[in-house]
């Protein structure tokens, strides 16, 4: 389905590559295999009768792609979009979906042993959307489970 994503650098067993980005001052990351592209913010056409975090749809080279505001989806404080705001286009369940984030930061290579899978995040973020916390030398990264985030928005996206 997604040749661009499979072309990602080969990874050592037990290590995964993650694309990290910032949201409301914190760092989050998604598995890089699902990332199709990163693009700057563009005109978004609102969709009627949609939940608040679904901002609308954009034109991705002729394809109509839904755009989800990650701050809103995660229940974080929302802000105006600015010139640093980017859309991370991910492939989820064979669908192409754009996620608005404050800015992309890095590609991280994380060893499975550096990921904390059992979580207690308190009330700040809905922990059902989090697949783990990654630790690098100097920082913590929240690993997001995008499939769960969009589970309520796309048919067949619910997780067994």
């Amino acid at each position: 389905m997604n040749p661009s994503a499979t072309a990602a650098p080969t990874v050592l067993p037990g290590r995964g590559l993650y694309l990290s980005f910032s949201l409301a001052g914190d760092e989050y990351a998604v598995d890089i295999l699902g990332v199709r592209e990163i693009r700057e913010i563009c005109p978004i056409t609102p969709l009627p009768q949609s939940p608040r975090h679904v901002r609308g749809v954009m034109n991705l080279r002729g394809a109509v792609v839904p755009v989800i505001d990650l701050r809103s989806a995660l229940g974080l404080e929302e802000t105006e979009y600015n010139k640093f705001t980017v859309i991370v286009v991910l492939s989820v369940h064979d669908r192409t979906i754009g996620f608005v984030v404050d800015g992309v930061s890095d590609v991280l290579s994380l060893d499975e042993s550096a990921i904390e899978r059992s979580l207690d995040l308190g009330a700040r973020v809905d922990s059902s959307f989090v697949s783990g916390i990654g630790r690098t030398q100097e920082r913590f990264v929240v690993l997001l489970d995008v499939e769960r985030i969009v589970a309520s928005d796309i048919p067949g996206g619910s997780i067994a």
Binding site: Q49, N59, I97, D153
Partner: protein, 683 residues
């Protein structure tokens, strides 16, 4: 000799595709024979279909298919020679064979297991032959000399397949190869065939029958048939022993062939693989020419923008006009490639009608008209379900039994009409029957019971008919028993609306019913009216637009406890505030300072409140479901000239929603039904 291993896969794909076509010819031929059992031309045609499948399946080594078609062919041969009469039992077995053959081919294509019924049906086929057995010409020993020409193999033929075919005619006594003409090794071209064969076979087949083996390679070989002197060899036992015969020479009762069980099998195959489309080379050549023109036009544009001469603006304009013309033509040509005759849906139906008619014990004639009407290929698949449903409904519920019919003075045989034709940029498909029609009393009773109408609601028959499209109508207690219709009609309606089409029904009690589907020619491109709502641009399908104007204050009325309505020349049309639906907070809220766009779907009107009408154009329809999901009130999206995405509004959904807003007594179903009520309240 080694098997030739060219890229056999490509040929296989073609074989399966052609086999499907042969099967369709075969099946429709069989159904045609039902009315004209002695039509020699049709028998010949179905014989050739079976024979082609057999020949090609032998080439590909599909032994299951070959053995089966061989049995089938033998029966057809009897039919052709008049030894066997096309009776109902023969028809049933032959139709069952179509299903089996289809399943066998599918199994061969996907590498799955052969269907269980295959053996059973083959035995039934052989049983059909048994009464004719005594008439068989006596078995004799034939010597066949077969000399392929040198180019035999390079033309893709396999001499071994011919030998195998000969083997199926009877019992091979000897096979010899004459290799005396094979040249020296250094002169040998591996693709040439220098062998000659001699096969001695004991067979009951006629000379003609043996010649058929060579039918496809006639020009590539020479062959001789010669009757050998009968040898006193022990008479070999036949492969198919004659089955016990009934005394009067009629065939023994057939084993129950699993026709209904095989039917779903047959229905599912067309959806399986084969997403291919056959296009005349001429059409492709024209496309190529056109692409050439576009490349030239594009070069002209580049040239005109780069040149600094004074007339560059004029030349750019010319180039753009040319480009525009070519693009439009390209669009039309590409669309025409996607257009296929609607026959590909229709031809599935005669068989279904026959099966349903048989199972409910009715005599039914299906009259098909306009099967060459062309429609977009993508719609063909989606039309199959609703049409099947409508036709089945017509046979099952619409038509009466023969006894009932004769009581009312109708011919015993009921008729179902299936018509397709073009009408003003649309394809219209009609499914009509001459049955009992809709029982309006039963519908009224049911609607009252469901609380859809009050006990004294003054509704016309048309308004009552609309209720059968109501969702609750079909799922609740068996309506079909009383009203004659209603099973899943809401689903049919939804399917048709999903194709951007509409559906209407007329019925006369005791005279029959007529369901009319109106569909656009294509789903890919839509003529639309661009409108502005606040800062958003929306597209309204042009087909549903009636008019657009700025209403005066006196036209706008508010009904207490209900919605706003617009009085248009005495008709009350509910106002739909598009800005509320799409969340455009910057839009004009006052109808008298905005515009209304009157739209119509399925006879229901609505007045869409918009800020401005931007103009009409063609829009490429993009699905929202591809990457997201179905969104209410929107049928799709399109990309505007400036690269922005615009929503295409779903007019049927909007009119439905507008007519279901709170109104006393009538809760939903139909605006026409509630219009009189509103009008009364206004006075």
């Amino acid at each position: 000799m080694s098997e030739v291993t060219v890229d056999i896969e490509a040929f296989r794909a073609t074989f399966f595709e052609e086999a499907d076509e042969h099967l369709v010819t075969f099946e429709s031929g069989l159904l045609q024979l039902e009315s004209t059992p002695n039509n020699g031309e049709v028998i010949g045609q179905i014989f050739r279909s079976a024979h082609s499948i057999k020949g090609a399946s032998g080439t590909f080594g599909l032994n299951d298919v070959m053995t089966f078609t061989h049995a089938l062919e033998t029966v057809l041969d009897r039919l052709r020679s008049g030894e066997l009469v096309y009776r109902a039992d023969v028809a049933t077995v032959l139709l069952a064979s179509v299903d089996v053959l289809r399943a066998l081919l599918e199994a061969a294509r996907s590498g799955g297991a052969a269907p269980a019924e295959a053996v059973e049906v083959r035995l039934s086929l052989e049983r059909l032959l048994s009464p004719a057995k005594p008439k068989d010409p006596p078995r004799r020993t034939m010597g066949v000399r077969f000399i392929p020409k040198p180019e035999f193999m390079s033309r893709g033929m396999d001499p071994l397949a011919i030998l195998r075919d000969l083997g199926t005619l009877g019992d091979v006594l000897s096979r010899e190869v004459d290799a005396s003409h094979v040249p020296e090794l250094r002169l040998l071209d591996p693709e040439s065939c220098h062998l000659a064969f001699r096969v001695v076979v004991t067979t009951a087949a006629t000379d003609e029958k043996i010649r058929e083996v060579f039918e496809f390679v006639d020009d590539l070989c020479t062959y001789e048939l010669r009757e050998d002197t009968p040898e006193p060899a022990p008479r070999p036992t036949e492969a198919a022993q004659p089955e016990p015969e009934t005394p009067d020479g009629r065939p023994a009762p057939l084993a129950p062939v699993a026709a209904p069980a095989a039917a779903p099998n047959a229905a599912s195959t067309p959806h399986a693989p084969a997403a291919t489309i056959r296009v005349a080379t001429e059409k492709v050549d024209k496309l190529l020419d056109l692409v050439g023109e576009i490349v030239i036009a594009q070069a002209m544009i580049v040239e005109a923008t780069r040149s600094e001469s004074s007339d560059s603006a004029g030349r750019l304009n010319d180039a753009l006009v040319a480009m525009d013309r070519h693009t439009r033509e390209l669009q039309e040509r590409v669309m025409s490639i996607r257009m296929v005759p609607i026959d590909s849906v229709f031809r599935r139906l005669p068989r279904m009608v026959r099966d349903v008619a048989e199972s409910v014990g009715k005599k039914v004639k299906l009259v098909v008209e306009g099967e060459t009407t062309e429609i977009d290929k993508s719609m063909v698949e989606q039309l199959a379900d609703p049409l099947t449903h409508l036709v089945r409904n017509a046979v099952d519920h619409g038509l009466e039994t023969a006894e009932e019919r004769s009581k009312t003075g109708k011919p015993d045989e009921g008729t179902v009409f299936l018509r397709a034709f073009h009408q003003g940029g649309n394809v219209v498909i009609e499914v009509a029957d001459d049955g009992r029609g809709l029982d309006t009393d039963a519908i009224r009773a049911k609607a009252e019971r469901l609380g859809l109408i009050g006990p004294d609601a003054g509704l016309t028959d048309e308004q009552l008919h609309e209720f059968i499209f109501h969702a609750g109508f079909s799922t609740a207690a068996k309506v079909s028993d009383v009203s004659g219709r209603g099973v899943g009609m809401d689903v049919v309606k939804r399917n048709v609306e999903a194709l951007n089409g509409s559906l209407s029904l007329t019925s006369e009690r005791g005279r029959g019913a007529n369901v009319r589907l109106r569909l656009p020619l294509t789903l890919a491109i839509l003529d639309g009216l661009a409108v502005r709502v606040g800062s958003q641009t929306l597209v309204v399908p042009l087909l549903s637009v009636v008019e657009a104007f700025r209403p005066t204050q006196s036209q706008v009325r508010e009904v207490v406890g209900a919605c706003e309505v617009l009085d248009v020349r005495g008709r009350c049309i509910p106002i739909v505030r598009l800005h509320e639906i799409v969340g455009a907070f910057d839009a004009q809220r006052d109808p008298t300072r905005a515009l209304v766009c009157i739209v119509e779907a399925n006879g229901t009107h609505a007045a869409l409140l918009v800020d401005d009408v931007l103009g009409q154009a063609q829009f490429v329809v993009k699905s929202l479901e591809a990457n997201f999901r179905k969104v209410d009130a929107v049928m799709g999206a399109t990309i505007l000239g400036d690269g922005k995405v615009a929503m295409i509004v779903d007019v049927p959904a909007l009119t439905r929603a507008a007519s279901s807003s709170p109104v006393p007594v009538l809760t939903s179903a139909h605006t026409q039904a509630r219009r009189p009520v509103v009008a009364q309240e206004l006075q």
